[in-house]
């Protein structure tokens, strides 16, 4: 199998007053089509790892290779394009555009990348995520769980190669949470895509074939 991600001795240090080492000398290989759960206590560096993989957080030391190319040596333009077309990201805090309604928020990446969106895929996503009746609302009018589902739809709209999800069921009840995970895994399995997610829920972590535990910024 091909390596899709390769982390070589990656460290991330936040320099704000006191230095905080969020990741310490992490080396990691991720294969194509792998499904990975990241586990660990709060503040361990799970989100940081996800951000580093998805090209959002510059590393202080080490190197991140995506399909053989070093992510942080790419031009800003190329990195943005990869994020737009190849990656999908569900943030812990959603990060939806407050002034656009739900439909616009979901369509935004597709329209930016290709100028058009696949209608069937869009309808499939909103139906599956049960947000089709909230299309004309703004994120401010939605509940936390609804926002999360919108964020997932947005992450999937471009059929990304790699799907990152930071606690995708954090705001959801068991039933809805299960539905979300079903969707993520269905997507990954049916299309043969890579899925990397963070969760505190051991049951959800068991869904993945590979688990990575982080503690104090190091893999154990």
């Amino acid at each position: 199998m091909n390596k899709i991600f390769e982390l070589k001795n990656v460290s991330v240090v936040y320099k704000s007053g006191e230095n905080v080492a969020a990741l310490k000398d992490v080396s990691l290989n991720i294969e194509e089509k792998e499904q990975i759960a990241i586990l660990g206590p709060s503040g361990a560096g799970k989100s940081t790892l996800l951000n580093v993989l998805s090209g959002l957080e510059c590393v202080t030391e080490g190197e991140v290779l995506y399909s053989g190319t070093s992510l942080y040596k790419l031009k800003e333009r190329e990195l943005s394009d990869i994020r737009l077309k190849k990656f999908g990201f569900v943030f812990q805090a959603f990060h939806l555009i407050p002034n656009l309604n739900v439909q616009d928020n979901i369509l935004l990446p597709a329209l930016t990348a290709y100028g058009k969106a696949e209608k069937e895929w869009f309808s499939y996503l909103v139906e599956k995520l049960q947000i089709d009746h909230r299309m004309n609302h703004t994120p401010g009018q939605l509940s936390g769980g609804e926002c999360q589902r919108v964020a997932i739809a947005r992450a999937l709209i471009n059929k990304p190669e790699v799907l990152f999800a930071d606690e995708p069921s954090g705001n959801l009840d068991t039933q809805n949470g299960q539905a979300v995970f079903d969707l993520l895994f269905d997507y990954a399995n049916e299309n043969g895509k890579t899925l990397i997610y963070v969760t505190h829920d051991l049951e959800k972590a068991d869904l993945a074939k590979r688990k990575i535990s982080i503690k104090d910024g190091a893999i154990c």
Partner: protein, 806 residues
């Protein structure tokens, strides 16, 4: 308990140092700008009065033949500053007025004039003579200690010993008066001179005081005219009107800046507010303490600003005058009321800005508050911005945002409008006040050949003719330019008269009648005669090398000329190949063909009211005016002794007068430095505030949208695309602002123009497109610079970090 709570709240707010700085800064601007403007304008006034008094003498009125009672009345007047008395006599000699001052001791500060040589008379029989007297009567020996005969009346002459030579400054360009200071024991105090504390209402004050006195009052004409009395707006009116206009526009601008900064601060502190609400702090206390804290910081800022403005003012005064002497004078006319008014306006503005926030704190649930967007973004259903197939996503988002945040967008646009208008106003003011009028300042000397009263004497023509043939006695090194000069009557048909010129002519009631009945009208014009070599030069400087002028044809200046203001835009009413009818002596008329129109002349007529100017060759000129000889000879420069001597000889010729143009023009421009310092400081301040209002507008726009840009970036928007979005929004706002500012700039520039030229302005004003364009180019440069600076900073944090921060 309550105080503890408030202290807790303030602690939370104060964690954002940037916010505090923003608010205090807004206060500083609000305290400083209006106050320093007032101080500058008042300083300008005080300096102007000081300068006028120093130039022409302090006194405002002379009371002739005052009684004892008059003097005691004057002494009691609060507006009367100083009183001085001497024996004064006015005599006339050969069209010249002679002002005789007789006393034992003279007060030149009061009467004006400076002793350029020798001293004032101190002994019986001594006299201090006007320099001008020696200029007009060069045969008299100009030497200290020499004895001269001075005509006291038409018949009587008296011998005096010259103790000194005095130079008197006057507003009149051709001064025909002489002033003499004569020592006299036991002089009669038949004239009392009073100087005023406040010259700003000289007319009314003069009338008022004259009624109380038995003696007759005469106004000090030089001082009176130099202060602009006698024209529509005197200096004080002008200064005051300019100040009011500027004060108004600055207040609005400063309000705008405050609005922008307050908005930024509110945005930054809204999260703290919502969190405090969530942890259970009473919303009334929260709202009140937020508002009180904001106002307290603003007031602190205002206090600092006011202090700073006074400090700047005092430093400026000291560095200009090396003393604090004039500070008191400024504070005599300083208005505390205006300061208080602007402070109140500031507080009102704060309340207006804060009201929506207070409203939200009171009426929204804590949870809603925490979703930051609710503070700024209205909750309502949103229609789709995109369809399934949409291009130009960035553009659409930008337009969508603009529509949604209409007030914020408009305030940004208004900031741009104010910025452009102020910059245009400043540039325009500089243009109309410092733009040089076209005149003969590139010549050093002019020789007036027919200046003496005796020029009709036999042989005079022949003498001039001979002089002219010999280059007026000069060697070949000196280039002379002879000018034939006469005024002529033009006949115009009313349909020939274009709109602008018609308005000008209609100021005169007979003209108005003639024009409205469609009849012909006679207008004065100037006909200049150039020698052939001069004509060649004329064509060369107008880019028409090699052109010649036939007999019977004239060249016309393409605008109506005046040497007192710039009239380049006042187009002359004829076209090339038109013919003009010129009245020739009593009976005849001559038709002249206009060969072409030109932009510049080599020699200009000395004319301060509006006039058309034609140039003909010598022969045509003689044909029409029957004058064979030039009236004036202009000389570029003289660099050698031999020619200097020739000039001296001409100067000594009583029939010819020689005027040093360089000196004359230099004199017109001297002494303006201190006045300029105040005005330039005011301008710089205006520019600074104009830039600030634009900057704060752009900053607000970008700052509040920062989070959104970061989000777009994380889902894969390229930075360049995001920046393009910002440029687009700001460019759109700028375009809109530019369009609106055309109207506002029109109003402002017209106001400034009418202030400067109250009468002529009405028909001469036109929108200064070139100034507006330059001001816009400047504003665009500022915009590009500011936006790039903000974006450069933003681009560093346009990553996940920013999302963490928020």
């Amino acid at each position: 308990m309550l105080i503890q709570n408030i202290a807790k709240i303030w602690k939370v707010f104060n964690s954002s140092r940037k916010g505090i700085v923003c608010i205090v800064l807004a206060g500083v601007i609000f305290g400083m700008i209006p106050n320093i403007t007032q101080l500058l304008f008042l300083s300008n006034e005080v300096e102007f009065v000081r300068e006028s008094k120093e130039k022409y003498g302090k006194y405002g009125f002379r009371v002739a033949e005052p009684s004892e009672k008059d003097v005691s009345i004057l002494k009691k007047e609060s507006n009367v500053d100083e009183i001085y008395a001497d024996e004064f006599q006015l005599t006339e000699y050969k069209n010249h007025y002679c002002n005789w001052h007789m006393s034992e001791k003279f007060d030149l500060n009061m009467l004006g004039g400076t002793v350029v040589e020798g001293s004032l008379p101190t002994k019986e029989g001594e006299i201090c003579v006007d320099e001008n007297y020696f200029n007009k009567y060069p045969k008299q020996k100009k030497k200290i200690g020499s004895k001269i005969l001075i005509p006291i009346t038409k018949k009587e002459e008296k011998e005096y010993t010259v103790s000194g030579i005095i130079r008197e400054k006057t507003v009149f360009t051709d001064n025909d008066e002489f002033i003499f200071f004569v020592y006299k024991k036991n002089y009669q105090k038949n004239s009392v001179y009073i100087s005023l504390r406040d010259y700003s209402e000289m007319n009314d004050y003069g009338d008022k005081i004259e009624k109380k006195l038995q003696g007759k009052m005469y106004v000090h004409l030089d001082l009176y005219l130099s202060m602009g009395y006698g024209s529509k707006y005197n200096f004080f009116d002008q200064n005051n009107m300019l100040y009011k206009g500027l004060y108004g526009i600055l207040l609005i601008t400063v309000c705008m800046v405050l609005y922008h900064l307050a908005k930024i601060c509110m945005y930054d502190s809204s999260e703290s507010i919502s969190i405090l609400r969530i942890i259970g702090i009473n919303k009334n206390i929260l709202a009140i303490s937020f508002v009180v804290r904001f106002l307290a910081l603003i007031l602190l800022g205002i206090f600092v600003g006011v202090c700073a403005s006074f400090a700047i003012f005092v430093v400026m005064q000291y560095s200009l005058y090396d003393s604090f002497a004039y500070i008191g004078k400024v504070f005599e006319i300083y208005s505390v009321e205006k300061l208080l008014k602007s402070v109140l306006l500031c507080l009102l503005m704060c309340v207006i800005v804060l009201l929506p926030l207070v409203w939200k704190i009171k009426f929204q649930s804590a949870n809603e508050l925490l979703r930051k967007e609710n503070l700024f973004f209205k909750k309502r259903k949103r229609t789709n911005v995109f369809s399934l197939k949409s291009r130009f996503v960035g553009l659409k988002i930008a337009i969508h945002e603009m529509k949604n945040e209409i007030i914020m967008s408009l305030s940004g646009v208004l900031g741009i409008v104010l910025g452009i208008v102020i910059i245009t106003g400043v540039f325009y003011y500089v243009k109309i006040n410092y733009d040089k009028v076209e005149d003969n300042r590139n010549y050093e000397t002019v020789i007036k050949l027919f200046d003496s009263a005796d020029f009709w004497e036999d042989g005079y023509d022949a003498k001039i003719e001979k002089l002219r043939k010999n280059n007026y006695g000069f060697t070949k090194r000196v280039k002379t330019h002879s000018l034939f000069y006469n005024s002529v009557q033009l006949k115009l048909q009313s349909k020939q008269v274009p709109e602008q010129y018609r308005k000008y002519l209609e100021q005169d009631s007979t003209n108005r009648q003639m024009l409205s009945f469609g009849g012909g009208i006679e207008v004065q014009a100037v006909l200049l005669g150039y020698e052939d070599k001069e004509l060649n030069e004329l064509f060369t400087i107008n880019g028409l090398e090699g052109k010649t002028l036939k007999d019977g044809e004239v060249v016309m200046l393409d605008h109506i000329y005046s040497n007192s203001m710039n009239t380049k835009d006042f187009a002359s009413p004829f076209q090339s190949n038109d013919t003009v009818k010129i009245e020739k002596d009593e009976n005849g008329e001559e038709e002249l063909k206009i060969d072409c129109k030109i932009k510049k002349l080599t020699i200009y007529p000395d004319h301060d009211n509006f006039i058309m100017v034609f140039v003909a060759n010598e022969r045509t000129f003689e044909n029409i005016t029957e004058e064979k000889l030039p009236r004036y000879v202009f000389i570029d420069s003289i660099n050698n002794d031999a020619d200097m001597e020739v000039l001296q000889k001409l100067e000594n010729d009583p029939d010819i007068s020689v005027v040093n143009l360089k000196e004359k023009f230099d004199k017109m421009e001297e002494d303006k430095t201190v006045l300029n310092v105040f005005m330039i400081t005011a301008f710089l301040l205006c520019m600074a505030i104009a830039i600030t209002v634009m900057y704060s507008g752009y900053y607000m726009k970008i700052h509040i949208r920062r989070k959104e840009y970061a989000m777009l970036h994380t889902i894969g928007f390229r930075k360049s695309k995001i920046f393009r979005m910002v440029y687009l929004e700001i460019g759109g706002a700028y375009l809109l602002g530019c369009l609106i500012s055309i109207i506002a700039a029109n109003v402002i520039t017209k106001y400034l123009y009418l202030l400067k030229y109250p009468e002529e302005g009405n028909y001469l004003y036109h929108f200064p497109m070139e100034v507006f364009t330059i001001a816009n180019m400047f504003s665009i440069m500022v915009t590009v610079f500011v936006v790039c600076a903000i974006l450069k900073k933003a681009s560093k944090v346009l990553t996940i970090k920013m999302l963490h921060e928020l």
